[in-house]
Symmetry: C2
Subunit: 552 residues, 2 copies
């Protein structure tokens, strides 16, 4: 815990997050709804989850309570990347437990799931909670990316939760962590443990989303923080009138963050990986598209602009994906790997590999600037080409620069192209939660406590009607098994929660598609500014645009 | 002007900036104070500025006005890099002019000083002003970095201001722009122009500061925006517990921004260029200092941390400065330049140059990673080694990484060092002004209008008592000639306003020096969070820490 506290953090610690009306009034009952099954792969999932398959949806409604008030002990763990509001999940959990019975105990496992395996935890007291209310970060108990998968680790969890006499374990994480929570729930139940496992949907990427989960927590605050920064850069562009800014944003598996920021700021170009894959675009075509806009803006005297780029872009470009897969296969062969490593110069490596590539992959490889080729050949000990280390924003700048130079030589444009690159990511994952995320997370934690009190396991909590005022929110829980399907990962069939990608026929993307021509050539920027906590509601309580469009 | 407006911008447009009491009440007089002379180089400056030398300080006090209300016409220009609050300077100017006489006119010169030379301007109407109140950026009339120096340009300004029948020209800029304004004032006066020239002290760098100018505008908002981002990164560090973050910040000539951000966030290491130069430190010593902290934190189980780096660091390291100067001299010779360019490989270039360096410079050059050496040899058409293109944060990461690896081999530490680099700059220059900057800028513009109304030329306006509530602020104006000294730049003696560097015996640096050991090894981070506009005063109206310490 930090020694010094900023004036904002101090003022903000007094904020009392809102709850759905049903939970707020203290007297509520848990109601079983319809039994919900996975849409596909039912039999295989049932076989994997015999004890937790086929459970009903749960909702919480105002009324005479049907929950017992006997004292319980609950553990909580933060899993995976940080997202704004994690501390409020814990605060909601804590307050709900203490409200139900002042003898209830909450324990925080340290540094992620490994804390359960090793039995590393702290008791979470009201002093600790009060120091972290409405703060960003996961630093109260820290996070980690370990998974509980081996028989040995599962056994440790069984033993440790038994030793601690836990009635429940709340796992705060994304799609993989909730899947892992479901596996742990099944394992514990099959071993007659009383410990219920309940997941909370977390990820700034916004890709854990479905009919029950309208939005993962943290997305709103992270996108608002990124949009503040991007809006300021847009303002800089129209003031300095001489720079193109290429901004890479977090979101490897899906482009929700980039789309939300594009809708929030009206950046000139917002690249959406899902569209690029769907159109089967090449890297050259992506660069050409940007060049068209650079030239069109230059014709209007605007030698500046903003391009938003999702972190995972390259993996969505079919030719690059194939080339990378080929490269990985080639380097998977020990002899080839050793030969490549034996060369002294980049040129030798490239020549050798090019001869082994398919024609299409050779072309895709050749289309990359030498810097990028070199990064890809900087193979790790497993022989994986590190695509994630490519700075896509710089790669695109290089490609656009070459094309503009050549178009100028041919007299096709008088565009001046000077570009600056940015990566915006770490500034948003641990921002203090917006009012929306503060309320939402607190409600999620509060709901998770009720699921444990009611003795259900293998659930993910959620809150519906998020676009309405909090009083109209509906707290609920969905059996994780109903969200699973079977996917092939690293050569194995495994149950996973399907990642929600940007839907090209969804309203958020359509809104972008309808406006993109105007936003590309005009200066139609919006400057969202920093997150506000104390001002008028139309400033402080705005929900994400994606959510407004999808559920508005 | 953008088509769409964010909820915050809309709400914020209604904010009425505060004014010093004397100006607020509408009836005030301009009072001549003591005649103020430059501390050094008096005779030379007097010779250069015969018409504007030896003028008195001006203050504005409540009382029966001694200013005429005859209709006047005023131009305004934004010069140099953007700083939050520029639009409020123009709004203050506009409101002051219209309050004095509704027939007064304000014109904005477009794209910086070149707009005066070319006679490119717009009339600033109330519709324009209302669209830009309390917004960030310079996009209302844009900015530029041209200087008015040639006889031809000066003559154009004389002609254009005469054609436009201007009574005054307000130049919003930093030290160089205010110097340039003084030269224009002198020139116009010597040619019997009625057009007064008045400067407004702008720069996020905070290096235009002296007894009269407590703080340049924009510093507060930019540093608060950077500190928001840095605080969030600190939170990420303590949550993920596996990354060192190296953050480069704007401020080439002075380290005020870095120091302010260090004081605001208690980052583990805040490098101050002025201290490094004063101690004559080598680059290796700077890296060693960071390594010591990395090892000390690792011993406490903390394999994470934050290092703040001022943009201009390398130029303050004596050995590098000498080496760069030598290199520039060497490459200034055409034959040498051609020879260097004729080599195919970096190694050949390096070998050739190393033989020509002094022993010390050869060592300094050799101490740089190959990447950095290559950047330095990427010489421009004038033969200047582009030191500013070196990504200092990445350079330091490389040096620290090497040292930690070698210390590990020697068994001296078990530190894990994984580092991420950031450059934080463009996100702050055009942020919407904090309450402080909104009020301060509006007051500066309001004051500049009074100086023009009173018919004084060659002045820079300022506001004193900035740490007190705005009602106690004192509006004033200082003759620019009193702030000048003679410096040698590009081989010529020129009059310039001396840049204010971080003073090592000043209170802000001392505050850092007293706390740095604790901040280095402990997690004492402060998370300032985003700028707030509507909350409690202790959150929304905090002045920069530098100002509090210097004038508190």
């Amino acid at each position: 815990m930090s020694g010094a506290i900023s004036p904002l953090q101090k003022a903000r610690s007094a904020y009392q997050p809102k709850l759905p009306l049903s939970l707020k009034n203290g007297s509520f009952l848990v109601k079983k709804g319809e039994v919900i099954l996975p849409p596909v792969d039912r039999d295989r999932i049932k076989t994997l989850f015999p004890n937790t398959f086929g459970q009903p949806i749960l909702t919480f409604e105002a009324g005479e309570t049907n929950l017992s008030n006997h004292a319980i002990r609950v553990g909580v763990v933060l899993s995976g990347g940080q997202a704004p509001g994690g501390h409020n999940v814990i605060a909601g959990l804590f307050d709900a437990l203490r409200t139900a019975n002042s003898d209830n105990k909450l324990f925080g496992f340290l540094k992620g799931p490994i804390g359960i395996v090793k039995g590393n935890f702290v008791e979470i007291t009201s002093e600790i909670i009060d120091a972290y209310r409405n703060t960003g970060g996961f630093d109260m108990i820290m996070s980690g990316r370990d998974k509980i998968e081996s028989a040995e680790d599962l056994k440790s969890c069984l033993d440790n939760t038994a030793t601690m006499d836990l009635n429940g374990l709340v796992v705060v994480g994304g799609d993989d962590s909730n899947t892992n929570a479901a596996m742990l729930a099944e394992y514990l139940k099959s071993n007659d443990s009383k410990c219920c496992v309940v997941g909370v949907p977390k990820t700034i990427d916004g890709d854990m989303r479905n009919e029950q989960i309208e939005m993962s927590f943290g997305f709103d605050t992270a996108c608002k923080t990124y949009s503040e920064v991007i809006g300021n850069i847009c303002r800089d562009a129209t003031s300095a009138i001489k720079y193109w800014h290429f901004v890479r944003l977090m979101g490897r598996a899906a482009s929700h963050v980039t789309l939300e920021c594009g809708l929030s700021t009206h950046a000139n170009i917002t690249l959406i990986s899902e569209e690029i894959r769907s159109k089967g675009m090449t890297l050259a075509e992506v660069a050409d598209g940007i060049v068209d806009t650079v030239i069109a803006r230059a014709a209007k005297g605007r030698n500046y602009g903003i391009v938003l780029i999702p972190e995972g872009l390259l993996e969505f470009i079919p030719e690059l994906k194939s080339m990378i897969d080929e490269l990985a296969t080639m380097l998977g062969d020990k002899d080839t790997l050793e030969t490549v490593r034996s060369f002294d110069t980049h040129e030798e490596r490239t020549q050798y590999l090019s001869s082994m590539f398919s024609a299409l992959s050779a072309k895709a490889y050749a289309s990359l600037p030498e810097d990028t080729q070199a990064v890809l050949l900087n193979i790790d000990s497993h022989g994986n080409p590190p695509l994630s280390q490519v700075e896509t924003e710089k790669l695109l700048i290089d490609l656009v620069k070459q094309r503009i130079a050549s178009a100028k030589k041919q007299g096709k444009t008088a565009a001046k192209f000077t570009a600056l690159s940015h990566f915006v990511g770490y500034e948003g994952r641990c921002a203090a939660p917006s009012n929306f995320d503060a309320d939402y997370c607190y409600s999620l934690g509060y709901t998770a406590a009720q699921v444990v009190r009611a003795g259900f396991t293998g659930y993910t909590v959620s809150v519906k009607n998020l676009n309405q005022p909090a009083s109209e929110w509906v707290a609920m829980a969905t059996p994780v098994t109903s969200m699973l399907n079977i996917e092939r990962r690293l050569g194995k069939d495994v149950p996973v929660i399907k990642k929600a990608l940007v839907e090209l026929d969804g309203k958020p993307f359509k809104m972008y598609a309808q406006n993109r021509e105007k936003w590309a050539v005009e200066d139609d920027y919006v400057y969202p500014g920093p997150i506000q906590y104390f001002g008028p509601s139309e400033v402080c309580d705005v929900t994400p645009i994606t959510l407004q469009l999808e559920r508005g």
